[in-house]
């Protein structure tokens, strides 16, 4: 956990992930139960007008889940919300980034930080972006 007295406007340390590989998409299909073949089969992807397989949106959200748990502890994630803005392809390198928006108290009295989070590709495009809330140490 890397929490250190966050203030609104603070940039959070980035998490750089390994390039997206075919094996990762097959493993993620199996582990998540999402067997939509546009993620693992080129023919299916082409049949719906894509030029190749695309990563599961939920994989990039999974990277952001890893990011939040690294930042605040896996048991302290209260909410995470994302939009899938752009497709992620084989070989893409995603980097998770975030900014502290606000620190408040939750209804249960625990300190809570609202974050803006996103995953961007090697061209700096925000492929998956959203917001999150994590509980903070007192």
């Amino acid at each position: 956990m890397v929490y250190d007295r966050w203030q609104p406007g603070d940039d959070l340390p980035p998490l750089v992930k390994e390039p997206i590989s075919k094996v990762q998409l097959v493993r993620y299909a199996g582990a998540s139960g999402d067997y939509n073949l546009i993620h693992t089969d080129v023919e299916t992807a082409r049949s719906v007008g894509l030029d190749g397989v695309i990563a599961h949106g939920m994989l990039s959200m999974g990277f952001l889940g890893q990011y939040l748990a690294d930042l605040a502890g896996s048991e302290n994630v209260r909410r995470v919300q994302v939009r899938f803005n752009a497709m992620v392809r084989l070989g893409d390198v995603l980097t998770c980034k975030g900014v502290v928006k606000e620190t408040t108290s939750a209804a249960n009295g625990r300190p809570l930080a609202s974050l803006e989070i996103w995953a961007e590709n090697q061209r700096g495009e925000k492929v998956t972006s959203g917001t999150a809330e994590v509980y903070l140490p007192r």
Binding site: Q24, Y28, H56, G57, G65, Q66, L68, V77
Partner: protein
């Protein structure tokens, strides 16, 4: 593809998912997340509820025509190995928007996951595009 608005309010049958230690570890491995908490399987990664798969009720289309537009999870507590989570999925909205790929239909659904005592554990809100 147009979707009849009568789909709004459709509710799935409840389905119970058992959270297995090995499934947590495989899920973390697939993401490439080395967090030791997931190696033991005591806690599940935040996006693990995606494995609680229930089809969108009332939506009968080829899965290859579906795109995931967005997802939100709200956690009342962490999910742990040994949990049995009963989920119900409900369609809450559908609308049409014009975008880069032409006219697209959005379907928004919400799933509630409860433990054996009936306590809410996680709420998922999912937006998919039907192309």
């Amino acid at each position: 593809m147009a979707i009849d608005r009568s789909i709004v309010g459709a509710v799935s049958e409840p389905e119970t998912f058992e959270v297995e230690r090995g499934a947590i570890r495989k899920f973390a491995d697939a993401i490439g997340d080395p967090n030791p908490a997931y190696r033991s399987g005591d806690v599940a990664p935040p996006t693990f509820p995606t494995t609680f798969r229930i089809r969108v009720p009332g939506l009968n289309v080829d899965p290859a025509r579906l795109l995931h537009a967005g997802e939100e999870y709200v956690y009342e507590r962490p999910i742990r190995a040994g949990d049995r989570i009963t989920c119900v999925r409900r369609v809450v909205d559908t609308y049409v928007k014009s975008g880069r790929l032409g006219e697209m239909t959005f379907v928004v659904s919400e799933s509630e996951g409860r433990d054996l005592d009936g306590n809410l554990v996680v709420t998922a809100r999912s937006t998919i595009i039907v192309r």
